[in-house]
């Protein structure tokens, strides 16, 4: 049987890779994708602990995370489309009208 620590280590690695992708990439769509990777790493950790404690509550939480992520993706992509219509670009350098 596979030790559950391996799943935990894999989820940590994937979360860190998602964070790296979020910082390196300069367009909104790819940054959004890296957020989804971090969601998935967290889901993997939830399922690992659900199996470790032999309880179904972790799986239910993962189910809720997936549904909320679907809703979030719909609204976020709509916002990205609106930004593209206004600025004709989705690079993060070009979205600076608040001088941030």
């Amino acid at each position: 049987m596979i030790p559950l620590n391996y799943f935990l280590i894999l989820s940590i690695i994937l979360f860190a890779l998602g964070a790296i992708a979020f910082f390196i990439k300069r367009d909104l769509i790819t940054q959004f994708m890296s957020i989804e990777i971090m969601f998935n790493a967290a889901n993997l950790a939830f399922l690992t602990f659900a199996k470790s404690f032999t309880s179904l509550d972790g799986q239910i939480i993962v189910f809720f995370v997936i549904t909320v992520a679907a809703a979030e993706a719909a609204v976020g992509l709509a916002i990205i489309l609106l930004i593209y219509r206004q600025k004709k670009s989705i690079r993060t350098e070009d979205i600076n009208s608040m001088k941030g």
């Binding site: 391996y6 390196i24 602990f49 199996k51 809720f64 549904t67």
Partner: protein
């Protein structure tokens, strides 16, 4: 066999996320991400969560990534997107990732050791999952349905072109 499957899925998912970091094209990024999500679905199935694995492949690799690909098709990005000039963002990203890894390893170090060898029977049985979803977690479930309707209506209202302008 399970061990071989775990290492295969883990290596493919990490490699596809790395490919997403390296590749510049958004469409390729989306395809790499679909591969990573399918591998994660396999890992979920290895963790005795078959229902969650099916939901992962249907919703993530199916629905959400189709949304992403639609948006990539609508936005014409062929002209721009030259590689990033600034080097300090990459250094900063790697430093943040290393700090994150160290923190997470330190916090989860003792978490799994005493109970990692429990021999569980059929844990992720969809029948039990559905029963739990409609008894203990009934109110979160209903609130989630309202949230999804609100998100869909909100997305349509946001993207709709207004005639008055």
């Amino acid at each position: 066999m399970a061990q071989f499957l775990f290492f295969l899925l883990a290596i493919v998912s990490i490699a596809s996320v790395l490919g997403m970091i390296i590749s510049k094209d958004q469409a390729y990024n989306a395809l790499f991400l679909i591969l990573a999500f399918v591998c994660m679905g396999g890992l979920f199935a290895l963790l005795e969560a078959p229902f969650i694995a099916a939901v992962q492949i249907i919703i993530y690799a199916g629905a959400i990534m189709i949304l992403f690909i639609f948006v990539v098709m609508m936005i014409n990005l062929r002209k721009g997107m030259e590689p990033e000039k600034k080097r300090w963002t990459k250094v900063f990203a790697v430093v943040v990732a290393i700090v994150l890894i160290v923190e997470l390893v330190l916090t989860t170090k003792g978490a799994l050791e005493p109970i990692s060898s429990v021999a569980s029977e059929t844990l992720g049985n969809p029948t039990d999952l559905g029963r739990l979803l409609f008894t203990k977690y009934l109110y979160p479930f209903e609130i989630t349905s309202i949230l999804i309707i609100a998100a869909l209506v909100g997305a349509i209202v946001l993207v709709k072109k207004r005639d008055t302008e």
